[in-house]
Symmetry: C2
Subunit: 328 residues, 2 copies
């Protein structure tokens, strides 16, 4: 691959002039410009990002931190991020941390090393202390999961309210025994959704029963299956379930489909409105977050930060999507 000197030589000009042609910046006479452009074409030249970035100390690369791409919840957000980034001539780097601190570290270093200009973290398992340290010196945005009293700008939805509405919907459709399938409460979203669940129950003077609150080890389907099996073993079975993630809810549906034999139906509400949720049998009632928008706005926030501007936190609206799983 040719470099800028070779182009300069070929075109009979200095490297500065070539650089000027490349960056459409200061004045270059049409004659020399076309000479240079010709040389570029002939030698099939592409400017080296390394040289350029080293000099400019910018990479026009954004990191997107997520625990795993296996959760379909992230896909639409990522589309939003990608579209917005590309529109501003940035590219994104999807970084799966697998919830492993070592990997996280690698990606943090990429930012410190100027290999990336900023970070959007969607990883609830991220080491917040280290992320906060990073955010002191580099642009960072939290998307979806956030810190209530932290300094890092975030964009999210009102999880507590959404959960409250979901559970209220279950209660209003005649369920007095509503169980909760949730994950580890070290995650803020889990605490908030549980709070919403409890608020709804209290409002209708229903008792909060610990044995109807099941904590899973992760968000994957199989944990949903397992959770539901445990709930079905209870002496007094719930008649409805609110799961804090569609993947868990779909696992729960599966468990119900397997074990139910003419027994009473169980209503289910999930959270996220992943594309799969309309493919299940029955289709899943769920909370829809404006995921694409969230991705777009998170990116806009990050780009603002990179420019050095201040940004405000954003809380987006959600929506309860009623489908068959609560129409039993």
């Amino acid at each position: 691959m040719a470099n800028i000197q070779q182009i300069a030589k070929r075109a009979g000009v200095s490297v500065a002039t070539v650089s000027r042609v490349l960056n459409h910046a200061t004045s270059v006479s049409p004659k020399t410009r076309s000479k240079v452009e010709e040389a570029i074409k002939e030698l099939n030249y592409e400017p080296s990002m390394l040289g350029r970035n080293l000099r400019n100390s910018e990479s026009r690369l954004l990191l997107v931190l997520l625990p795993t791409i296996a959760n379909p919840f992230y896909t639409e957000i990522i589309n939003g991020i990608q579209d917005t980034a590309i529109a501003s001539d940035y590219n994104i780097l999807l970084c799966e941390t697998d919830s492993k601190p070592e990997r996280e570290n690698i990606y943090f270093n990429m930012v410190k090393n100027k290999l990336a200009d900023g970070v959007i973290s969607m990883d609830p398992t991220v080491n917040m202390q280290r992320l906060n340290e990073l955010a002191e010196h580099y642009p960072v945005i939290l998307c979806s999961e956030y810190e209530e009293k932290g300094d890092i700008p975030y964009i999210t939805v009102d999880s507590e309210l959404a959960a409250y509405q979901a559970v209220k919907h279950l209660i209003k459709s005649g369920n007095e025994k509503v169980a909760l399938i949730t994950s580890d409460e070290k995650f803020l979203y889990a605490r908030l959704r549980r709070a919403g669940y409890e608020r709804a129950l209290k409002e209708f003077h229903l008792q909060i029963r610990d044995e109807w609150i099941y904590h899973t080890k992760g968000l994957e389907f199989q944990y949903g299956v397992h959770a539901m099996r445990m709930l079905l073993k209870e002496e007094e079975k719930p008649t409805a379930v609110f799961a804090i993630s569609d993947t868990l809810a779909i696992g729960a549906l599966k468990a119900i489909n397997m074990e139910r034999e003419g027994s009473d139906p169980i209503a289910i509400v999930g959270f996220d409105n992943i594309s799969f949720s309309s493919m299940t049998n029955p289709t899943l009632t769920t909370i829809s977050q404006p995921m694409y928008t969230m991705g777009c706005q998170a990116t806009e926030m990050l780009l603002s930060r990179i420019k050095g501007e201040k940004v405000e936190n954003i809380v987006l609206d959600h929506e309860l999507i009623i489908r068959e799983s609560t129409m039993v």
Copy 2:
């Protein structure tokens, strides 16, 4: 962020010595080593990848090209790629092309610009001509989708055989009317799977009927729904369906669940064994590819190429996973 000169100054040595400490290379006396290490710690120094890469012209970054992360088929492969890459001190960059040539271009340029050391393409929509050009000068591996007579090393499964076995399974379980839901035949995997489908039909002297072969516009669920609806409108309805992707198969299941009212059941086989395929109702019979292994081996191939070694193409074994959707 401190740079190497500041460390050198602080430690009272030259930048060369600092670099030596950093790279554990040639001899450095224990005394100076510890002085330097102390300075590094004090100033919280991290070497700049940009400077390093520019000099070494390597980035230890691998690109993974895929059309979209929305298809769960890719997730396990990516895990394999990631684990193998990290074990060799490489990182991966997930690149969604969205089947858009412009994006593809951006990523190709990253390789040319030494921002990445090699590419694993899992993108069936990739511009093969440009990829071939890239592969003339840079390490490239094809994973899953490949070119039969091309020069780029690939790893894949025998799609034709897998499809043949899938359809044979349908026929042997009593179905004489087997439809095919496939995608655009510009993709090799689609052509191969269709060939397998036809081979099985021929072997059992069943007629190949064009009206039972439905071509979708994409692999997303909704295309599966639509395809199945069309097939159900046929005067003579198929009793079984082979879909070339689990996502399509699950969409088809959905369509059947919606339209069927005491009518005859329809058997379905998918392809890929995505984690969702065991969550559907009924669970989905499908072809399982060793996705994790495929990712690992693809990465090993790429790393070999980066070292300048030659590599052989690999065809991995698949497996027919029989579940409820063909036990009706």
